[in-house]
Symmetry: C2
Amino acid sequence: METSEPKNEIFPKGEPLSNEYFTGNAFLTPLLGKDKNNEFAIGSVTFEAGARTHWHTHPRGQVLIVTDGEGFYQEKGEPAQVLKKGDVVNIPEDVEHWHGASANKYFVHIAITNYKGEQNVVWLQPVTGEEYNSVK
Amino acid sequence: METSEPKNEIFPKGEPLSNEYFTGNAFLTPLLGKDKNNEFAIGSVTFEAGARTHWHTHPRGQVLIVTDGEGFYQEKGEPAQVLKKGDVVNIPEDVEHWHGASANKYFVHIAITNYKGEQNVVWLQPVTGEEYNSVK
C-alpha cells in the first residue's frame, strides 16, 4: 500500500522489536540511554500497519511524540485515542495501556520513558484481535 | 530562498522567542511542561536561517533532537558541531554553549530540558556576529 511505509523519516527504522511484547512488525532506533542527568530513555519506534504493543504499564510514566503516520493510544476501559503527526501523549504511571499503528497506515513516535529506579516498563498480555478490531 | 522555510513540519512554528535570549527569528511550540513524573519541559524550537540562542547553560543538561533543517551546536572553546535531521545532542550540565540555524537554512529541534529544582537554564551573552561567522 502506498501508505504502508514512512517517507522522509527522521530516524532509521531500526531493529525489530521482540514479538514477546509486540504484535506485528515494530522497530526501535534507540536515541538516548538513561544517565546521571536524564532519568529516562529515548527511542524512535516505527510500527507497520496493524502492529502494536502488548498491554503494559510504566512505573513513572512515558511521553509519546508522534512524528509520522497514524495510530492509537488506549488506556484499559477507555475509548482509544487516534494519534497523528505532532500529537503528544503524557502517559501516567501505572496505567494499563497500549499504542500502535492504525490498520492501514504505519505509525512512528518518539518515546521518552521515565525510570523508577532501574525499571521503566511492565509488560502484560497481548492486545487481542478483538480488542484491536474494536478500535481500528 | 527555497531552503529558508521548513516543509511538512511536525509541529506548528509557534510563538516568537524573546530577542533578550535569541538573535534573529526563533519560535517555540511548547509540547509538555514539568510535572510529577517528568522533571523536564519539552518544546519544538524553529530557527530561521542565521538565528541562534545566546550563550547559555543548563543546570541539569538538555537533550536536543533535530527534526528538520541544518544548524550548529557549539560548546565554549570547542569547534562547532554541524547538526542535521535525526541528530541527537546530550548537553551536559553547566557547560556554556549555543545552538542555532546555519546561515542559509532553517533549523528545527525538539528540546528536552531537565530541571534542577525550579531552574532549567541560565542565559548569558549573545553569540556575536564574529563568533557565528567563524563557524557558519
